[in-house]
Symmetry: C2
Subunit: 333 residues, 2 copies
Amino acid sequence: MKIAVDAFGGDNAPDEVIKGAASAVKAYGVTVVLTGDKSKIEQRISELGVSSDGLEICDADGVIEIEDDPKQILKEKKDCSMGKALALVASREADAMVSAGSTAALVMGGTLTVKRIKGVKRPAMAPILPGESNRYILLDGGANIDCRPEMLRQFAIMGSIYMEKIMGVEAPRVALLNVGAEEEKGRELEQGAYELLGQTDGINFIGNIEGRDAALGGADVIVTDGFTGNIYLKTVEGMGKFMKTSLKKLFYRNFGTMLSSLLCKKGIRGLIETMDYRETGGSPLLGTACPVIKAHGSSDALAFKNAIRQAKEFCEKNVIEEIERALGEKGDD
Amino acid sequence: MKIAVDAFGGDNAPDEVIKGAASAVKAYGVTVVLTGDKSKIEQRISELGVSSDGLEICDADGVIEIEDDPKQILKEKKDCSMGKALALVASREADAMVSAGSTAALVMGGTLTVKRIKGVKRPAMAPILPGESNRYILLDGGANIDCRPEMLRQFAIMGSIYMEKIMGVEAPRVALLNVGAEEEKGRELEQGAYELLGQTDGINFIGNIEGRDAALGGADVIVTDGFTGNIYLKTVEGMGKFMKTSLKKLFYRNFGTMLSSLLCKKGIRGLIETMDYRETGGSPLLGTACPVIKAHGSSDALAFKNAIRQAKEFCEKNVIEEIERALGEKGDD
């Protein structure tokens, strides 16, 4: 299996990308095609002293920056490191791609270069988040600022398939993010989506969910528009950081508290791992015709390694074929 | 000063309301008018053994339930405990009111019974939330599901006045909750609001804020529509609960970790206090012609006591006059 990885996406590129790719080759037996300035990548591979076994390089010209107009990925910057990785999957020279670069450019490039699964209205960014006792998927985490009820119905189907196939959750509980439990709550979007979701066979729709229960993991698949989803996602991230800083403050007060942190070491490690986005890999862009994984902008080697593992599983578990089949049955093609 | 308090609103009514009211009388020298079934209130005052000094009772008929249509507060149920408390401020027999009952009914009753400040388009629910090193106010926390840019501008003005007058923040930083920092980000609502906020004199507009920085306290006043605000608010609450449960799990693993919790006692107490909504009181409904405070549904005596203190300060600091003056200057009346 061949995974294309944008070697220049993210805050820690290219070093952490290269290290993560080398570990993934070793751990999962995949081939990784690093896209970006070839001489720089070769130089860093040698300077970092990582093995180049299973690593290929696809030369690319420049990088798409967060502040660039995302449309650039289709025009002036289509040969940049992200653009080349997208082109490799679009032409089926690679089976999947991973990038920690600009989300907006990846959504645009994923949708228009890699193209959509037959029947999919809009791909959704689908981050996987930690709840109290489970992990859950959120769609849309920010790909589509404005959504229609039919889009939320497709998000529910795609998210259910992902949770079942990749995360091993049986009959994943689907909930609609809303301001109250009752059917009539929310805006026109939620009212329309509630009705549609209730009529959709093959998903386990449990109704509306408020932000509080969502954050605790009260459902396995949470659907909402990309504006609300992005606010939700970032708020969870911010509160996670809040929690981490508070723990640090708690234990670094004085000698006694530092001692106590040793006694709680195992629990602290467990908690930090639970909250750590690096463990799950990245966010799949669900709905594209080939697997596209958005790694977190601040990904390190471990996060890239896990995102590559996730890309591999995405291919192996036939998530895309399942989505196509499910939408076909529902007359969406 | 006389504060009307809905004795039958919230999960812990009427006992915790009565106890909180009695403590507030003692601590702040206010008179509290408890609204609700008179004989029940008298009986509980006597059974709880609290002093009835400074407590008055206004007999009311029934309670508005969360599942009731909020319009009932204006019709069949206008004489319920919440309706009577609203009527007391509307007629200026009381200076302010507090209720832990149905938010939707309180918004409707506050807007239509107490009425709006001259020039205010829509009152906003304005919870005060803990950031890493400050407290900040969020408008709208859920009163108006659909908003226009002009409403967000008014929320910014009202929130700034509240933070300055009640919370003592100089030139409070106002930010627009959005999916990115750049001016053009967001939906039509955010794009319109961004422009309007930039043109508004007398507020300290610092631009867009993402959920992550908002949750950490990156602004003093965060404005958004009531749908997004409610999702944000509940998500922060859920993550706060997540944090508390995680801390408990951390310390209750074994003898060593329990011992360590003793060493961290002070820090844990501080952290829990920071996250504790009871400390700030309730959420003001900003924009009504008299102070209306929504106490949290699960308020206990301490929370009610603080909500009554907050109502008192709201009156004393002339927040309403300031809002009227500010909107008048901006030609909103």
